[in-house]
Amino acid sequence: MKSPIQFTDLARDAVLRFADMGGESEPAVRIQVASPSPLDPRYEITLIDDDEKREEDLVFGQEGFDIVVDPESAKLLNGASVDWVEGLQESGFKVENPNLAPIGSKPLEGPLADRVQQVIEQYVNPGVAQHGGNVTLVEVRDDIVYLQMGGGCQGCGMASVTLSQGIERILKEQVPEIVGIEDVTNHSAGDNPYFTSEK
C-alpha cells in the first residue's frame, strides 16, 4: 500500500541512521498525531520494535523501513511529509501537514475574514486602544476566529474578560456565523499590560 506520508531523503537517512545505532535490522517508525490542535499541532515520531505494533495499526512499507500509523492519526496525516532539519540549537524531524496547518499559516482572505476584520477595526480596536491595546485577526478557520492581542492587552490580567465579555459578544452579534473565538496571544511575552495581577 502506498504510504500517505512522504519522507524526504534527509528524513529517511535520519531514520536509518538511528535504526543503525539501535542495531535494528528491520526498522519501523511510528508517527502519531500527539495534538491535533491547529494552535499547536504536535507529532511523535519514534522507532518501535515489532512487538509494539498493534493490530489496528496501518503499516506502510518505505524504502528501508516501515511506517506505522494508528487509524486516528492516519486520517489526519494523509498528504503529510516528514523532513529532517539541522539547526544550530537543535535538530529533528519536521512535519508539514496540510490537514493541520498551524493557525496563521494560511492567507487571510474571504468574505467572512473581511467582515470579521471590519468589526475589529470599527468596534474592537478603538475600544481597546483606550487601554493601549490592539487586536489583530490571525485567521478564520471553520468559522472560528483566531485573534492576537497586543500592546496593553498582551499579558493583561483582564484580557480574558475583554475577550469573552467584549470581543466575542460583538463579533457574534455582527457576524452570527462565527461559532468561537480563540486567543492565540503569547501573553507571557507582554511587556506593558494594562492590568497586572496582584495578591
Binding site: Y123, V124, G127, V128, Q130, H131, G133, C153, G155, G157, M158, S160, V161, T162, S164, Q165, G166, I167, R169, I170, E173, S188, G190, D191, N192, P193, Y194, F195, T196, S197, E198, K199
Partner: protein, 412 residues
C-alpha cells in the same frame, strides 16, 4: 440561561479560570470589576463597574442591574469583593455566606476575638492603632510575636518579632504598607490597625473547601513543606494530598468546619490556614473565598471539573456530590521574588518544564516591571505546577525545576 455575576478585582489572577468554568457550565456571565472594562460600551449587561469600599452603594448598583439582568448567583474571586458579593446576595436572596460572617472573617482581629471567645484554641492577640507608639505597644506584649495587617492576604505585611529591636522596625514596615493609597482603597478602615499575636511554632497547612447549607465539603488538605518560621512568611510550596495521617486530617477539617460554623460561614468557598505543633491544631485564619493566585490549577476533580466550576455549581444550586479530587498528588510552587528591583530576565524556563512531573509554569510579572519581595511585595513572580503519584515526587519535581530557573533582577 442563568446569569452569574463574577466579581474580579482589576488585579485578579483568577478571571480566566472562572470565565472558563462558567463557559463549561453554560451559564451567562456578567463581570463586575473596580475598573471600567475596555469594551464595556459594546456589550450591555456583560460588564459592570463597581467600587470596592462603598459596599452599600455597589450593592445597590447590583440590585438595579439585576432588575434588567436577573442574577442567579454572585461570586467574588478574591478577598476584596467578598463583602460586596455577600451584601448583594443577601439583597437579592441568593446563596452566599452571610455578610456579617464575611465581615467577621475578613477582619483577622475580629475573627480571632470570636473564635477565642468561643473557646477555640487560639494564640494570645491584641490590636493597636497605627498611630500608637510601637515601643509602648511592645512593652505590653510577650515575645516572640507576629505582627500582621487585619485584612491583607498571602502573608503580605506579616512579620515575626522576637525582641523589641525587631518589633519597632516590623511595625514601621507594616505601617508603611497600610498607608499605601492602594491598600487604603482596598481595605478601608481595616488599614488603621495592626494585629499582634503570639508566634505559634509548627507545621503549616491549608484546607480548601466549600460550605453548603452549613456543611463543609473538604476539597483538599494542603501541606506547606517549607518551614514558616519568619521573620517573613512567604508561601512557596503547597502539596496535596497531605502527609498527615487520615484520622488527624479529619481532626483538622473538623476544626475548620466548627470554626466556619461559629463564624457563620454557611454557603460558599472557604480557605483556612492552620498550624500543627505537638499534635495541637490551631487555626490561623479562615477566609470566605477560595485559594489565591493561580494555585487552584492544581485542584482538579473527577468527573472533569475545576475548583472554579465547583464554586459556581454551589452558588447556582447545582449538585456537588460525586466530585472527587483527581487521584495522585499535585503541587504548586509560588515562585519567590529573591530581591527588589527591576525584573530583567527569567531564564531556564524550558529546562524547568523538562523536569519529569512538571505540569506547567507561568511567569506573571512582565519583564521590565518592578519586583518587591515580601513583606511589602504584592505580586507573585509566577507559578510552577507538578503532578505525580506521590507528594514527595511532586515536591522533588518542584524543587528541581525551580533550581533551573534563573531570575535576573537589576537594582532599581
Amino acid at each position: 440561561m442563568p446569569r452569574v455575576l463574577l466579581l474580579f478585582a482589576r488585579t485578579s489572577y483568577r478571571a480566566e479560570a472562572f470565565l472558563e468554568a462558567a463557559r463549561r457550565l453554560g451559564v451567562d456571565v456578567t463581570v463586575g470589576s473596580n475598573h471600567r472594562q475596555a469594551l464595556a460600551d459594546l456589550a450591555p449587561g456583560a460588564t459592570l463597574t463597581l467600587g470596592i469600599k462603598d459596599v452599600a452603594r455597589s450593592s445597590a448598583t447590583i440590585v438595579r442591574f439585576a432588575a434588567d439582568y436577573p442574577l442567579a448567583a454572585i461570586v467574588a474571586a478574591e478577598d476584596d469583593f467578598t463583602p460586596l458579593a455577600a451584601t448583594a446576595s443577601e439583597a437579592l436572596g441568593l446563596t452566599h455566606h452571610p455578610s456579617q460572617a464575611v465581615r467577621c472573617a475578613r477582619n483577622k482581629a475580629l475573627m480571632r476575638e470570636r473564635l477565642s471567645a468561643a473557646g477555640f484554641s487560639s494564640p494570645w492577640f491584641r490590636t493597636a492603632q497605627l498611630e500608637d507608639d510601637p515601643v509602648a505597644v511592645a512593652s505590653r506584649i510577650e515575645f516572640p510575636c507576629v505582627l500582621k495587617p487585619l485584612a491583607l492576604s498571602a502573608s503580605r505585611g506579616v512579620i515575626r518579632a522576637d525582641t523589641l529591636e525587631q518589633f519597632v522596625p516590623a511595625w514601621n514596615r507594616i505601617r508603611a504598607i497600610l498607608e499605601e493609597k492602594d491598600v487604603v482603597g482596598r481595605i478601608g478602615r481595616l488599614a488603621t490597625e495592626i494585629l499582634i499575636e503570639a508566634y505559634l511554632p509548627g507545621r503549616e497547612l491549608a484546607v480548601e473547601g466549600i460550605v453548603s447549607a452549613g456543611e463543609l465539603l473538604t476539597l483538599a488538605v494542603l501541606d506547606k513543606p517549607d518551614p514558616m518560621e519568619g521573620p517573613f512568611f512567604e508561601e512557596t510550596i503547597l502539596l496535596t494530598p497531605s502527609s498527615f495521617p487520615e484520622p488527624f486530617q479529619e481532626d483538622i477539617t473538623s476544626l475548620v468546619s466548627e470554626c466556619a460554623a461559629h463564624l457563620g460561614l454557611s454557603d460558599g468557598p472557604i480557605h483556612a490556614e492552620l498550624r500543627v505543633h505537638d499534635d495541637r491544631i490551631s487555626l490561623l485564619e479562615i477566609a470566605p473565598r477560595s485559594i489565591g493566585g493561580r494555585c487552584s490549577a492544581i485542584l482538579r476533580f473527577e468527573p472533569d471539573a475545576s475548583l472554579e466550576e465547583l464554586i459556581l455549581r454551589h452558588a447556582l444550586g447545582m449538585p456537588l456530590h460525586g466530585f472527587l479530587r483527581e487521584p495522585g498528588a499535585a503541587g504548586v510552587m509560588m515562585l519567590p521574588i529573591p530581591a527588589a528591583g527591576i525584573l530583567r530576565e527569567v531564564g531556564g524556563l524550558e529546562a524547568a518544564l523538562e523536569v519529569p512531573d512538571i505540569d506547567g509554569l507561568e511567569i506573571t510579572i512582565p519583564l521590565g516591571h518592578t519586583v518587591i519581595p515580601l513583606p511589602e511585595g504584592n505580586r507573585y513572580l509566577g507559578f510552577l505546577f507538578a503532578r505525580a503519584k506521590t507528594p514527595d515526587q511532586v515536591e522533588t519535581a518542584l524543587r528541581a525545576a525551580h533550581s533551573r530557573i534563573e531570575v535576573r533582577i537589576e537594582e532599581a
